[in-house]
Amino acid sequence: MSAAPQKARAGAEKIDVIVSAVVPLNELVTRFEFTRADDKAFPPFSAGAHTVVEMRDGDRLRLNPYSLMSDPADSSLYAISVRRDDAGRGGSLFMHRSVKVGDRMKISYPVNLFPLDLRGRKHVFLAGGIGITPFMAMIAHLERMGGAWELHYACRNEALGTYVDQLTSRYPNKVHVYFDDRNQAIALEDLLDGQPLGTHVYVCGPKGMIDWVHATAAAHGWPDENVHSEEFLAPQPGKPFEVRLCRSDITIQVGESESLLEAMERCGVDAPFLCRGGACGQCETDVIEADGTFVHRDHWLDDEDHTSGKKIMPCVSRFVGKSLVLDR
């Protein structure tokens, strides 16, 4: 009804920031702290939220989501912790190698796909490795607002136990740490047993850990609604393929180590997106014509959509075949 209805810009709103601290925590993990370039307060956020960080790596624009680990009530800074992945697509390497204090960057407004269930009587956190980051914010929130929680944190070894000292000294009775190299493991069944009605479990870590928690909880009669997980799916590489984009009237090539979404962006197409991890549905694209097989890697479309061949999630999914025409 407005005279010129504005099309929503792709992605969440952006904030201009300055890197205020770069703190290596151990061999793999470094914390990055940001202040606002305009000196205003950061927007408050809900624990579990992430921000999408823009990285200008030469002529390549990378966009990676990272959990906000700072206290949601602290509006003076936002903090993320990034685990260096030498075998990844380069985003974490860029952060570790190229980002310095004083750099200007753009990050998105917080987006939350992993919130606390505020009705919960008790919150049990299960963290694997760098999966600890969203729980740092959740713990800060529950300590401030009052709420029962406990953390079970699995790390490879003590040297790579990010924030272990800080957590165990501040909350000795609520934090339990398990080191792989000492053969310590979360006794999940015991842990789930005897929790009061209304307990919610949250798991953030590798896919295997997430699947294990969901399966064990279900086998013990826990409702799905009480088990929450977050896994950032980094787009997997794959064979290059060609795509015709109807509305933009161009044909593009999707390279081996870029996602379909990234290829569209590289070619100047303003494609909608939000989480860039296959979970939120915002980038859902209609298929006009396809001669080949879809490689669906998202968590958004249902089975029917996956088999219909009429939809694809460009942020994480790919295609193998003769031709693909999309409504974009």
Partner: protein, 362 residues
Amino acid sequence: MTIQFNTETFRDDYSFRNSDWAIKRFPFPFHEDSYMYSVNMEQHRGGPDGSVYEKRFDVDEHYVSEMQDRAIVLADDPLRCQSLPHMTLAGWDTLELIMVSKSEDYPDLFELHRDGNRWRWINKPMGIDHTFTFLDETTLPCGPLEYITRQAQGDYAVLDQRGDMLYMDAGMVTTQADWSLDFDIGMDFFEWHAPVPLAHEMGIFKRALKFLLNIQQGAPARRLNWTMTVNPLLDTSPENYHKWGIQKTSLTPENVGAKQHLRVELQTFYRLPRSNALLFPIRCYLIAFQDLVSIPKWGRRLHRVVRDLPDELATYKGFIANRPLMLDYLGRHDDGLPTSPGVWPDLDSEPPLQTQNDARSR
């Protein structure tokens, strides 16, 4: 910006009137000569100067009187404002959003002074000057949602977002088009919309839900909804329907211009930061038919929309019985001329009503 606040009633003697300014800025919802459901969302990011779309929470001449009417409704029925226990944080988010928006958008009327969590809120039209501690309910006379929505026009539904679904878990609902917060609180998006005919089959709600789940901080959206009300009655609640329903039978050919009102809801959608809930303000605007037809294009168009509306929609919107009376009146304000696309009055380009005489003299 100076607004002359009316002293008027939305019940009993119905002294409510729209000034010329209010008539011209009325949120006419029809952009073409017919109506069907759509997920007609757009960004809520300003609008033409002076329009109801310009400010985040529009304040108009009816502000003070509407808040008085709300106070009467709540005194009569406190169940119109409810908040499930886990929604208090969302209530604080809402209080902050409305206080910040109004103090920035209408600095002559509202002031917000913040010193850490010690806040001082000044509401000049309502004569309020209150200091309290943000996030501490014991420093407010009532919960944060109730506190601030007693000072903000329109209804407010606060939706908890859990597991790819929205739940109506809190609200202030005193100007609703015939639904009950007390009954619906706790329901999910599809459930509280269950009584709406046709829309579910059209997949409207599935698409709308996907859109709403992805509304982010800093990027609010808006849309319009509409219905009909006899008399400028804001409290058309199911709770009081046994009292106001009879008014629908009081229409006559002589009074339809003054009594029949088009009722438009400007709905906005905001992601709330600390609770991750979705705030759903539903702002109600009323206009009498006789005022609406003073804008020729609107008179023509409303006649056609009402004439061609499917029976199910006219029934659901509660005016199927009065439709013939309405069409008799509106028909006299439709000369059959074409209308420009879009909702705006277009007074410069849309000709005044052509009467029979005009037609003959050509």
